[in-house]
């Protein structure tokens, strides 16, 4: 009973999987706006911890350390900045890669330092939505395979 889908259903599902996983999405270059965020870093947290911009935006992060020296390293962009309390540091870049990127503290700021994180969202998180779609298809295929 493991695999009892008809050939046609298989083809359709296969197409759906390919579509959800690989369909190119027109990139809305709505961006090129100037976006400035004042991000306070203290006590193992960033505030705000989630930054959302449009692809193409010119982003400036003003990093304000509120207790000890902190850093901010954006994964995927591989950009870093660090700030002492009282000395706001600035990081400017063009958000030319879309997706969701974690940022982490890059300066040891205490025991929980390796887990001090935040997120930069450039446009919609298509990886997440595609995966949700694929997960849904996985469930459909999983149930559909029960047919005899």
């Amino acid at each position: 009973m493991a695999n009892s889908l008809t050939g046609r259903a298989k083809l359709l599902l296969g197409l759906a999987v390919v579509l959800v996983a690989l369909m190119p999405i027109p990139v809305r270059q709505a961006g090129s706006a100037e976006r400035t965020f004042r991000v306070e870093a203290g006590n193992y947290a960033y505030s705000p911890s989630v930054l959302s911009v449009d692809p193409g935006d010119r982003v400036t992060i003003e990093l304000v350390a509120t207790d000890v020296v902190h850093g901010l390293h954006i994964e995927g962009y591989d950009l870093s900045v660090s700030a002492d309390p009282g000395q706001t540091a600035r990081l400017s870049f063009v958000a030319d890669r879309s997706g969701s990127f974690r940022f982490r503290c890059s300066v040891t700021c205490g025991p929980v330092h390796p887990f001090m994180t935040g997120k930069l969202n450039v446009g919609p998180n298509w990886l997440l939505w595609r995966t949700v779609g694929l997960a849904l298809l996985a469930v459909v295929v999983g149930i559909g395979a029960i047919k005899r």
């Binding site: 929980v112 390796p114 990886l127 999983g142 029960i146 047919k147």
Partner: protein, 456 residues
């Protein structure tokens, strides 16, 4: 490759029968383990610069959860240094085998012959995780107490009571070892049946009786086999095989399913969810609360954690089972279905742990180089890598790996749910099976989405 007996390969067989290769790896691991304890107790209190934290919780953990458990199952247990000193004392020999025996050799209490203690031990470590994972002193004390506990248990009880019933890590390695493409089994049970002495259990001049208290001919799943290779050495008929097999073969066979293991599946899934939120989420207050061990905030966190993992998650799954029963118009006992179907969460659980671990292992792997060169944080530079700065590795690839692993886990879990449903609940009826699996797949889907939201 399926069914290939690795133990039968001419190169491998002498390596397994000789006690030396395994001993050397164990002693090497023991050296690292001792260094981790020394560094934890007397090195720098800065976690990401201390050998104990970096090598145990980044390097070892990565090897365990990303490589050893998925590919080798209990492979780590076969060289684990934690029970080794106790076992050597118990046996009165390092290399052995020797008949003489130190210690009381008591039998493990019947009531405790399950993994509830392991579940409790794991939860205990997890509740203190924010401190254990970040403070060298706490990690050093934890490792030291584990080796002392294992040692004293070896002296009081027979065989490896610690590994089977107490080790906080062993419980989940056992659960997830069912997924590994590797198994130790007897080749021909008829030979065992005819073998009067059962040297695999009692031991002989070539090796010890099974330290894991398992009769190899009775093995149906990997959970309790520690891959210690003693039976390979003691079997006079060369009847033990180490087979390559398909992933997760144990789950696809109806077998002995137990509530303590079912609960382990919930504990692991729930803990991964909480870890992902605490460690990789953007909520600083949650990190502070999890770190403030002993404070009332932490107490609330601990209670919420335990209720979530031990009550809410299983209850939600139970309700999904009940709903499935209603949809499938099944007359079966829901409790029984719950117990069996909980095993369908095993692939999703492991994939969740892998996805979570991918989220911090590669980001922090570069801490390993300085920690190896300057294990104590005392300004040494043993291998010249003390100055390598922190830099996250492959951070562009990690999210892709994470979603792939989670999707694979979901697909696999739904499939296992389908098979268990057919085996133990609804039989061959297709519409009823679909009805039963639908809410379970929904449960798994929601869990997957939660992980995606937290991790990607």
């Amino acid at each position: 490759m399926n069914g290939l007996d690795l133990a039968g390969l001419p190169v491998v067989k002498p390596m397994l029968r000789s006690r030396w290769p395994q001993l050397l790896v164990t002693v090497l691991a023991l050296g690292g383990f001792v260094l981790a304890i020394v560094a934890g107790l007397s090195g720098t209190p800065v976690g990401n610069r201390n050998f104990s934290i970096v090598v145990v919780w980044i390097a070892w953990w990565a090897l365990l959860i990303l490589v050893a458990v998925p590919l080798l199952g209990r492979g780590w247990c076969s060289v684990c240094p934690i029970p080794a000193p106790g076992e050597w004392l118990q046996r009165g020999a390092v290399l052995g085998p020797r008949r003489a025996r130190l210690g009381l050799g008591r039998r493990w209490p019947r009531r405790l012959r399950n993994i509830w203690l392991q579940n409790a031990a794991f939860l205990l470590v997890v509740l203190f995780a924010a401190v254990v994972l970040t403070q060298p002193l706490v990690t050093g004390l934890l490792l030291l107490s584990l080796v002392l506990l294992a040692g004293s248990m070896s002296l009081v009880f027979e065989r490896r009571a610690f590994c089977r019933y107490m080790c906080p890590v062993g419980g989940f390695i056992g659960l997830y070892s069912q997924l590994a493409p590797l198994e130790l089994r007897v080749k021909d049970t008829a030979i065992c049946a005819a073998h009067r002495v059962k040297t695999c259990y009692t031991g002989n001049a070539d090796g010890y009786g099974c330290p894991w208290q398992v009769f190899p001919a009775g093995l149906r799943k990997n959970t309790n086999c520690g891959l210690c290779m003693e039976c390979v050495r003691t079997c006079p008929y060369d009847n033990i095989a180490i087979n390559l097999r398909s992933f997760g073969a144990d789950l696809h066979r109806p077998g002995e399913r137990r509530l303590d293991e079912a609960y382990k599946a919930f504990i692991m899934l729930g803990s991964a969810l909480v870890y992902a939120a605490v460690m990789l989420g953007p909520w600083g207050w949650l990190k502070s609360v999890a770190y403030a061990v002993g404070g009332w905030h932490w107490f609330v966190y601990a209670v919420a954690f335990l209720v979530g993992v031990l009550v809410l998650l299983p209850t939600a799954f139970y309700l999904a089972v009940r709903l499935g029963h209603a949809l499938a118009r099944s007359e079966s006992e829901p409790q029984r279905s719950f117990l069996h179907l909980a095993y369908a969460l095993v692939p999703l659980g492991l994939s969740a742990w892998i996805a979570f671990s991918l989220g911090f292992v590669f980001a922090n792997l570069s801490y390993v180089w300085p920690a190896v060169s300057d294990p104590m944080g005392w300004g040494w530079n043993l291998v010249g890598t003390a100055g390598i700065p922190w830099t996250p590795y492959v951070s562009r690839v990690v999210p892709l790996l994470q979603v792939t692993v989670l999707l694979a886990g979901l697909t696999w879990s739904v499939r296992v749910a389908r098979e268990i449903a057919a085996q133990v609940v609804v039989g061959r009826s297709t519409t009823r099976a679909a009805g039963l699996v639908l809410p379970l797949a929904g449960f798994m889907f929601v869990i997957t989405i939660l992980f995606l939201w937290l991790l990607v």
